[in-house]
Symmetry: C2
Subunit: 629 residues, 2 copies
C-alpha cells in the first residue's frame, strides 16, 4: 500500500490500542469472552483493516470488496471493534456484546452483515476462505480474501486439507495470518513460539511463508505487500505475538484464556495501562478518522447472472436409472442454465457422476481430492459469496464434515450437499461405505432442506428446486438403478410427497423413500394379490415434511402408518413421519435397519436387515385388520 | 531382521505373487472389489508379514503381538490373503470374499479376529494405530504397530492430526507405510509419484522418512529395519509403487480403481502372467512354509488388570455441581481403581475437568491438542487393545469426529465419549459452542449407549457403568451447575430412568433429561400450586431406553406424554420416547429447540427458545384435562 508510513504507523498503533481497549471493555461488560485472544492480534487487525484491505464499511457485502474471515472466532470482540472503528456501527454497541438483544454474539455469525460465515469451530474459517477466493476467480474479481487463524487451531486436520487445496489451486488471492501467541485454552500450544515448526509445515504444503513479529506494524504492512505481490501460490503470514499484549499482568501468561477482566478496578487498571500507550500522530485530526483511511472498492457494477430456463427431464417411464446418475445429469443441465452453479468433488466424481459436470463446466468444477472437510467448508465460502455450490461424495463420508454442516446451519448459508451410495442397498462394499445415519444428521439441523428422491425424474426436478431454495440443503441418492416412475411433466415441491397407490379400501399407508419406495410397490402387488390394499407414499421431502398429507393418509387408512427406510431406525423417515402425525394422535410402525450391517448382495441385505417387501407385507398383515368380504 | 536374505527374497517374491493372484481371484469371484489397489502393495505385505512382524496366526489377539492396521481398507483382499498365507484360515475361504455368508467383507471389520478396528473410511486407520502404539507404552509391551496408508488418503486432514500427535508423543514403536501408487479412485492423486511432496510433509511434521521402491523387497526389509532402529520418533516409509503391479495390461493405468478382472479369460490371462513370475527358492520345501517364517511373539503372560472397587459418590443433596465437573471427578476415581482407564483431551481439559485425571494419572492422559478426529481414532485403537479410553471435549466439537464415531459403531469397539457444554444452557458463547444435534448423532448408531445425567451422583454412577458396558458409549454433560437430587446410595442402570415426582392424580408425564429435569421440577411446583399434578421423569438413559417404564407412566397419566430437551427437535429425547411408546399407541408432545439459537444468558435462552418451565406449564395446561374438583 503506497501510504505515508511515518504518519500511518502511529495512527495504526493508536487504532490497535483502541481495539484492545474495546475488546477488554466489551468482554468485561458481558462478564464473559476472550479479551487476551483479541489483544495478541490487535496490531494485525489495525494494519489489515486500516492499511491493507479495500472495503466499504457501509456496504460490507459489496461484491468487489476484500473479505476477512476470522477463523479463530472466539476473538469476535476485536472483529466487532474493528468494524466499529471503521464506522460500520456506533462504538457504544460494543457494550452489548453477547447480550440476547444484540447481534454481536459470542462468536461471529452472519446475522451481522460483515460476517460471511459463522466461525467458532476452529479450522473452518480457512476452508470457507478458499471458497471465497475461488469465487473471486469465478466472477473475475480482483478482490482478495484474508483469513486469520489461531496457532492452536493449526492442529485441526481441516487446516491442512485447506493448505493442500489452496496451494493446488494456486490461490494467490488468498492470504492467511496465523496469530502465534503460543497459548491454547488449557495450556501452551503444541509448538509454542517455535516459528520454524509453522514455517516448515506451510512451506511443505506449498505456501509462501513470511515470519514476522506480529506487534511490529511495519513488518505486518510489509508482509501484506509481499503477499499481494506473490503470484501462483497463497501466502501464510506467521506472526509471533503475545497473548494479552499491552497489559503487563496478563501478557504471555497462561490461565487467562476465555477470561474477562473483572469490571471495576481490574478492568480500569488494564485500560489505563493501554491508554498510556497512545502516541501523537502527525497531522491527526477529524480529517484523519480511521474510516477515511480505508481504500474503497469499486462500486459493484457487475451484472447479476440471470439463469436461463432449464429444459424438463427427458426420461422414459420404466427406464432403469440410478438417482446418483440422474443427479449428475441434472447438475449439468442446471450448470448450463446458471453460471452461479459450481460443483465440488472429493475424488469420487465417477461414482457421484459429477464428472459429467466437470466435462461440461471445467472452470466451475473444484476437485478437493479425498478431503471432505475442505470440500464442504469451501462450499460455505462460495455460497456466502453468491455461488450455488453442490458438494458431493458418498453420503457416509459426508459425516466427515458433520461439524461443517452444523456451522453451515448456524450460518444459514446455501450449500447444496448430495450424498450418494446411501444405505445397505449398496451391497458388497460393506458397512463402512453405507450411509445409515445421514438423514438423522441433516434432519437434526432446524434449517436444512432434506430430499430423498426415488427416481430420475424426481431427482432432476428436486436438484433444481434445492438450488434455488434458500439455506442449506441435502439430497440423498442411491447406488442401484431404479425404474423411472414419474412422467417428465410431473411437478414436485420442497415439502411435498407423492401418493403412488391408493384406493378407498386401503388398510394401511406405507411410506417409503428412495429404494424402499420400490419395496413398498412390490409389497403392494403381493398384498393386492391377497385382496389387501395399501396406500403407497413416496416421501421424497423429509424436511420440510408434508404433515397434512401424511395425516390425511393416516386418517384414510385406519390410522395404520408404516414407514420403511434404508437407514437406521433413529432420526430418519420413521421419526420424521412420527413427529409429523403425533399431534393428530397417530403412531408409526417403523421398519428400518436395526443392527450393524455387513457385505452381501443388495437384495440379500434388504431381506436380512429387514427392510424388503416381505417385511412390509408381514407388517401389514400383523395389523389388526378388519376382515374384508 | 537377521535373516538369510538370499533365500528370503525369492520366498517373499513368491509370496507377493501369490497374494496378487489371491487378490485377483477373490475379487473376480465376487465380481466386485479393488484388485489393483492390492497389487501395488503386495511386496510390502509379503515383507511385512513374512519378514518383519512378530505374530501368531493362530492367536491374533495375543497382547504381545505386533499389530497391523490397513488404513486403506479397500485393499482388504490382500489383507485376507496374507492371513490365509500365514495359516490363519484356509485359502479356499478367500473365494467367499464379500459374500453374505463370510466375514471376509468388502472392507475389514473386527468380525475377523485379526482386525482391531474397521477401516474403509480413509484417514482413520493411522489414528487407531496411534492408540495401539500408546497402548503398548501403557502396558509396557515391546509390540510394534504398523499401519499402511494409500497416497490418496494423505489428503485427509485426520492423517495430519495423527502425524502431529505421533511425533509429539515420540511413538517410535509406530511405523507407517504409504503405498504411493499415484492413482486415486477417479483420477491421478494430488502428487502422483512426486515422492518429495510426501517426504517434505512427513518430515515437517516430525517423522523420520524413508523413500523406497515399493517393489524392491530388499529395500522394504531394510526400511523396516531402519524404522525399528529409530528412537524418539515415528517412521513413515514412502513406497513408490505401481497400481496393478504384475499385470502389464493394468499396471499404472487409470480407470482400474475398484474394478475386478472379469472371471474367465480376463482373469485367467492375468493370473497366468503372474504365475510366470514365480521364481525358484533355494531350499524350498514343506519345511519352508510361509507360516514357519513368522517369528512368534512371547506367549501372553501379562496378568489381567483387576479393577479395585470404586468408592460410592460423596455428594450432599442440594449441592450445586455441574455434571461436567462430576464427570471429571468420577473419572479420577475410576482411574484410581482401574489401570486400564485412560483419558484423551483436545485442549479443553479445564472445561471438561479431565485436568483432574491428568493430575492424578499423568501417564494415562493423552493430549491431542485441538484435533478431535485423532482423539477419537486413537481411543478406538486403545479400546481395541484392552484399554478403557474416555475421550472428551465440548459435545459440539465431537461432531468433528462423527465419521470416527460411525466407524467405532461398525467396529463395536468400547470407546467412551463424553461431550460437555451441551445445548443452549451454555449461554453467552453462542450457537457454535452449543451441541444441539449430538443425541441424534449417537442415537442413530444402533449399538451406542447414550447417557445424559442431570446431577453429580447420577453422573458418577453412570461413568462407572459406561466404562464396563460393552461397546461404544456417549455421555452428554452440561455446563451450568445443577443441584444434587440423588442420594449417594441411589442405584442406576443403563436403560433405566427415575421417576422424581408422582402421585395417583398425575395428569401428564413430563420427561426431561439433563438441565430440563430441573425445568420440569420447576413446572411441577408451579402446577401443583394450581392443583395440577404431573409426573416428572429423569430419562438419564436414552439408549437403551426404559420402554416399559415409559409406557407405564403414559398409561398412568392419561396417555399424556411431554418431552422437554435442550436439543433440536429431531433425533433427541422426544424421538427416543416417541419410538419407545409408539407400539403401545401413545404419542408424544415434544418441547425442543426449533431454530438456530444465539448468544444470551442461559435462563433467557431457555425461555426464548421454548424449553423453560413456563413452556412446560403451558404445554400441560393446553392438554384436554379432566376438570378436578
Amino acid at each position: 500500500m503506497p501510504t505515508d508510513r511515518p504518519s500511518l504507523i502511529p495512527a495504526l498503533k493508536n487504532i490497535a490500542t483502541r481495539l484492545r481497549i474495546d475488546s477488554i471493555r466489551s468482554t468485561s461488560e458481558s462478564g464473559t469472552g476472550h479479551p487476551t485472544s483479541c489483544m495478541s492480534m490487535a496490531d494485525i487487525m489495525a494494519a489489515l483493516f486500516f492499511g491493507e484491505m479495500r472495503f466499504d464499511p457501509k456496504d460490507p457485502k459489496n461484491t468487489e470488496a476484500d473479505r476477512f474471515v476470522l477463523s479463530k472466532g472466539h476473538a469476535a470482540p476485536i472483529l466487532y471493534a474493528a468494524w466499529a472503528e471503521a464506522g460500520a456501527f456506533d462504538r457504544s454497541e460494543l457494550l452489548k456484546l453477547r447480550d440476547i438483544s444484540s447481534d454481536l454474539e459470542g462468536h461471529p455469525t452472519p446475522r451481522l452483515p460483515f460476517v460471511d460465515v459463522a466461525t467458532g469451530s476452529l479450522g473452518q474459517g480457512i476452508c470457507a476462505a478458499i471458497g471465497s477466493a475461488l469465487n473471486a476467480r469465478r466472477i473475475g474479481s480482483p478482490y482478495r480474501t484474508y483469513v486469520l487463524l489461531g496457532d492452536g487451531e493449526s492442529a485441526e486436520g481441516s487446516v491442512w486439507e485447506a493448505a493442500d487445496v489452496a496451494a493446488l489451486d494456486k490461490l494467490d488471492n488468498l492470504c492467511g495470518i496465523t496469530d502465534v501467541n503460543g497459548l491454547g485454552q488449557s495450556r501452551a500450544t503444541m509448538w509454542q513460539h517455535d516459528m520454524s515448526q509453522f514455517e516448515r509445515r506451510w512451506q511443505a504444503f506449498g505456501w509462501r511463508t513470511i515470519v514476522i513479529d506480529g506487534h511490529d506494524l511495519n513488518a505486518i504492512l510489509d508482509a501484506f505487500e509481499q503477499a499481494r505481490a506473490t503470484a501462483g501460490q497463497p501466502t501464510m503470514i506467521l506472526a509471533r505475538t503475545l497473548k494479552g499484549k499491552g497489559v503487563a499482568s496478563v501478557e504471555g501468561k497462561d490461565g487467562w484464556h476465555g477470561k474477562a477482566f473483572k469490571k471495576g478496578e481490574e478492568m480500569d487498571k488494564a485500560i489505563a495501562e493501554l491508554e498510556r500507550q497512545f502516541v501523537p500522530v502527525p497531522g491527526d485530526g477529524p480529517a484523519a478518522r480511521s474510516a477515511n483511511r480505508i481504500p474503497k472498492p469499486p462500486a459493484p457494477s457487475r451484472p447479476v447472472d440471470q439463469p436461463k430456463p432449464v429444459a424438463p427431464p427427458n426420461y422414459k417411464l420404466g427406464d432403469q436409472v440410478a438417482t446418483r446418475e440422474a443427479f449428475g445429469a441434472a447438475l449439468v443441465k442446471l450448470g448450463d442454465a446458471d453460471a452461479r452453479v459450481v460443483a465440488l468433488d472429493a475424488d469420487v466424481k465417477n461414482s457421484t457422476f459429477t464428472d459429467k459436470f466437470e466435462k461440461a463446466h471445467p472452470d466451475r468444477f473444484y476437485e478437493n481430492f479425498i478431503a471432505e472437510q475442505v470440500m464442504v467448508g469451501s462450499a460455505m465460502g462460495l455460497a456466502a459469496r453468491g455461488a450455488i455450490p453442490f458438494a458431493s461424495t458418498f453420503a457416509c463420508f459426508l459425516t466427515r464434515a458433520a461439524d461443517f454442516s452444523r456451522m453451515a446451519a448456524i450460518s444459514n448459508v446455501g450449500i447444496k450437499l448430495a450424498g450418494s451410495h446411501a444405505g445397505i442397498s449398496i451391497g458388497e462394499d460393506g458397512p463402512s461405505q453405507m450411509a445409515l445415519e445421514d438423514l438423522a444428521m441433516y434432519r437434526a439441523e432446524p434449517n436444512y432442506t432434506v430430499l430423498y428422491p426415488c427416481d430420475a425424474v424426481s431427482t432432476e426436478r428436486l436438484v433444481a428446486l434445492m438450488a434455488y431454495h434458500p439455506g442449506p440443503a441435502y439430497m440423498r441418492t442411491s447406488r442401484p438403478k431404479t425404474p423411472v416412475v414419474y412422467g417428465n411433466d410431473e411437478t414436485f415441491e420442497i415439502g411435498g410427497l407423492k401418493v403412488l397407490r391408493e384406493s378407498g379400501d386401503d388398510v394401511a399407508t406405507v411410506v417409503g423413500a428412495g429404494v424402499t419406495v420400490f419395496e413398498a410397490l412390490k409389497a403392494y402387488d403381493q398384498l393386492r394379490a391377497e385382496r389387501i390394499l395399501i396406500r403407497v407414499v413416496d416421501l421424497y421431502s423429509l424436511a420440510p415434511i408434508a404433515r397434512d398429507a401424511l395425516i390425511a393418509a393416516a386418517r384414510a387408512t385406519g390410522g395404520n402408518l408404516i414407514t420403511v427406510e434404508d437407514h437406521y431406525a433413529a432420526g430418519g423417515v420413521g421419526d420424521a413421519v412420527a413427529e409429523a402425525v403425533a399431534a393428530a394422535g397417530f403412531t408409526v410402525h417403523r421398519i428400518a435397519v436395526r443392527e450393524i450391517p455387513r457385505s452381501g448382495k443388495p437384495d440379500e441385505l434388504l431381506e436380512r436387515f429387514g427392510i424388503s417387501a416381505s417385511h412390509i407385507v408381514q407388517a401389514v398383515k400383523s395389523l389388526k385388520l378388519p376382515v374384508r368380504s
